[in-house]
Amino acid sequence: MTSLLLILPLAGFILANLPAGRAFRRMCIVLPLVLSAVQVLLTLFPKASWWTAGNAAGLSLGFLRIDGISMLMLLAIGLVVFASSLISTATVRDERKNRSFVNLVLLSLLGMNGVVMVTDIFTLYVFLEIVSVCSFVLIALQREQAMFEGAFKYVVLSAVATMLMLTSIGILFLCAGGTSFTDLSSMIARNHADYTVVFAILMFIVGLFIKGGIIPFHGWLPDAYSSAAAPVSILLAGIVTKVSGVYTLIRLVVEVFGATPKTSQVLLFMGALSIVAGALAALGQKDFKRMLAYSSISQVGYIILSLGAGGALGIAGAVFHLFNHTIFKTQLFINAAAVEAQTGSRDLDAMGGLASRMPVTGATSVVALLSAAGIPPLAGFWSKLVIVVALWKAGHPVYLAVAVLASLLTLAYFLVLQRKVFFGTVAPGCDSVKEAGWRITGPSVAFSLIIIAVGVAVPFLLDTILLPIGRML
């Protein structure tokens, strides 16, 4: 019944727009919450018979498929959409904007679920566009000037990516006579030296680099993340770019394009570049959300690097870090939302000592930042360890050193963040700040617990979930 994951958000979207009374419309706020909660619950039991029910009766769509990595992504999508929707109820007060938010989030949910399940490159493209168009509008939702600027940059660069991907799909379709992953991968395996095919692959990968915000295609990302409203930036940074850029890249490189030595070289180089440049840029930021945005660029670099290392371990590391990054970055954006909601500012220099005023937010942000910096025993350490071991096994000692030492840069900028915002003495003007409400701190605590739980349970997860993912793809 996998198609229900697409049908339900669509049904929710229609329901939310029925010409009904105001009371009913207000109720619609719970739709994304319920749908994402259901999705999380379902994915927690990946072996349940629910997933295969109806297949025999021909009720499932042929181009949909769920494997380990899709399941993990569905879980992450559910978690982030839930957190984002819950926070929107606390921060987006305007009723009309709230309705637009509900509509757009439901559509994004539909699009992202589609992206992680399809087995056809053109359908993939359609779902990617659904997600992107929703994001454009979401960023500009509050109609402030900075938001329009962020959205506009995203639209322009996304258009370039769209053009590249569509051209690439056209060429690949001409060469293979079909657009399903199996058709394409067998065609590419036969013609891997053909320049037309290589050109098409390269165009697609560059398109995905733009979507994922890899340096030097990252121009839109900091503006989009930092200008958007709190729930939108959580959604965008937590999952949208990860699904539309990074997940798609992993899926296509592993399953369709094939990991040739040349692609590996490109991925390794681009990954290392993003890691270092993103981290250095983050060091200099004065704006809470911009720092997190650059940190995203840097962390996505790790995922790309791991993908470039290849092998079962490399792919497992990429997927694992993708999941971990979703969790800790969502958590950090939630904390940024909490701080912004309570102090009205994102300027790091204007804050200080908030840990004594907002103890929950302060403590959870320590957990998230240490996970991001790869400090054990938190989840982020284990994914970086897998990546490092994969790089060693693939014989890339230089990239290994870059990956390990860049963790220090990550630690450095997060320590600056933590010191300026939470640690230290209370800044003047922050005296009367109070802790954010439960709708913000609740998700924050939940995500921290996930980080700790994944970190502690990693020996179980590694053998049961992660390595099988790496081998299966």
Binding site: S356, L370, I375, A401, S407, L411, F423
Partner: protein, 480 residues
């Protein structure tokens, strides 16, 4: 079976229990303080109970069924020795904290971090694989970071960040080394590596990288700069981190990896004493010109760590035994020195020794304890420190490396000068401050206890030294 449970308890009672302290502290402060002390004391008790089985030559290994081939924990004589030393000093410091910290903010966080720190120290000591060592190593760095920044002033938090960055940098470099070792032997498990490296020594680059991490944690030149700066922390923290326990992590991991597990190139037996010698001399000189009480003791720590490294790396049994004994004696005596400085600082709020003097008249117990601990650090017979220093120097002579021996004798001489200078300027001469009474009983009591231990360590040297020698035999694989 029983020993296995003891190892689990020794590590996880403080590590897991630490998380209970903040909520308990919200209800009752007394219960939290006692709870913190009880957890550390319980861990000490578990390690002491392990004594009998390890003395019989048993090596307790703990593994989990789903980690095929990878042991989790390992308790041999070296581990038990180290565990007892650090939890003993840790327990005294927790006791002392109850007096020192009682009127500051953020006490919940303080006890949480201190107990977590001591628990992860136990974790490092009993670890049987490289990943677990790294894991607990970084947990100690996290607690160290929060503890140095305890007072929340700008300089404190910046220096806390500095300490965290320096040690994390060292740890990351060490992690690369660990991955190289994994690449060479295909395992993170210490015992597997031990048998495999007997035939093929560990690659020199890996040794260098791991050594880099160890030196950063043990604050040895050139990675020592964070340690004197960390003196902005509350004094029990400086005592805990920078005298007794944290810096010993590096030394212990050195002993565990390079002495007891890996087979390494013999050239390191010259290179490491050389680094240690330079470190001992330079920091001894720095201690001689500093005027901040805590910075002098901190530099003294850097200098004394050189002696420990010398003993462990010189490559013969007497040096090794001396190095291990040195860990014990130095932890006790240096902990005592820091805590005495803390008593003075808490009473007078002055750390500059040029503005202090004549305190022996009003604080006799603190002054005498300070002197006794200082004698032990200097290595004056019959104090505990004398025997360890003697054995280390004897080991250096036995190795035939006279230049290095001479360097360390000079270093020992410097130790005497700067400690006498410190004592004379703080406790003798005329009083320069308003007279103050002796500190809180629990603080002075802890200080006196450590001083008594320093004296007893000398008179009853045979007990620890027999144990240390048996540990050395076990490490070097000599059948008794």
């Amino acid at each position: 079976m029983e020993s296995i449970i003891l190892v689990w308890l020794a590590v996880f009672v403080p590590v897991a229990g630490a998380f209970l302290l903040p909520p308990v502290g919200g209800v009752s402060k007394g219960a939290r303080n006692l709870g913190a002390f009880a957890m550390v004391g319980f861990s000490l008790l578990c390690s002491c109970l392990l004594l009998s089985s390890v003395l019989n030559g048993e090596v307790v290994t703990v593994s989990l069924p789903f980690l095929a081939g990878n042991n989790l924990f390992l308790a041999d004589r070296l581990a038990v020795f180290m565990a007892i030393v650090s939890s003993l000093v840790g327990a005294v410091i927790v006791l002392y904290s109850m007096g020192y910290i009682s009127h500051y903010k953020n006490q919940n966080e303080y006890y949480f971090m201190v107990v977590l720190f001591l628990g992860s120290m136990m974790g490092i000591v009993y670890s049987a694989n490289l990943i677990l060592i790294y894991l607990f190593w970084e947990i100690t760095a996290i607690s160290c970071w929060r503890l140095i920044g305890f007072f929340r002033e700008k300089t404190c938090v910046i220096r806390a960040d500095k300490a965290f960055l320096v040690t994390a940098f060292g740890a990351l470099v060490m992690l690369i080394g660990f991955v190289m070792v994994y690449g060479q032997y295909g395992s993170f498990d210490l015992q597997t590596i031990k048998s495999a490296s007997a035939a093929h020594p560990v690659a020199n680059l890996a040794v260098l990288l791991i050594l880099f991490g160890i030196l950063s944690k043990s604050a040895t030149l050139p990675l020592h700069t964070w340690l004197p700066d960390a003196g902005v922390a509350p004094t029990p923290v400086t005592a805990l981190l920078h005298a007794a326990v944290l810096v010993k992590i590096g030394v212990y991991v050195y002993a565990r990896l390079f002495v007891s597990t890996f087979t390494i190139d013999p050239a390191w037996e010259t290179a490491i004493p050389l680094i240690a010698g330079v470190s001992a001399l330079v920091s001894g000189g720095a201690a001689l010109i500093e005027t901040d009480m805590k910075r002098i003791i901190a530099y003294s720590t850097v200098s004394q760590l050189g002696f420990i490294f010398l003993g462990l790396s010189i490559g013969n049994d007497i040096g090794l035994a001396g190095g291990l004994l040195y860990i014990l004696m130095h932890s006790i005596a240096k902990g005592g020195l820091f805590l005495c400085a803390g008593v003075v600082e808490q009473k007078l709020h002055v750390k500059d020794i040029t503005r202090l003097g004549g305190l022996i008249r009003t604080m006799p117990v603190t002054a005498i304890s300070f002197l006794l601990c200082a004698f032990s650090v200097m290595g004056i017979p019959p104090f505990g420190g004398f025997f360890s220093k003697y054995m280390v120097i004897a080991g250096a002579i036995k190795s035939g490396n006279y230049l290095i021996t001479a360097t360390f004798v000079l270093g020992a001489f410097l130790t005497m000068i700067y400690l006498f200078r410190l004592f004379a300027m703080v406790f003798l001469g005329e009083a320069k401050t308003t007279p103050v009474a002796e500190g809180a009983p629990v603080m002075v009591g802890s200080v006196a206890f450590l001083a008594v231990l320093s004296v007893a360590g000398g008179f009853f040297i045979s007990y620890p030294s027999v144990f240390v020698q048996s540990a050395v035999h076990q490490i070097t694989g000599v059948v008794q």
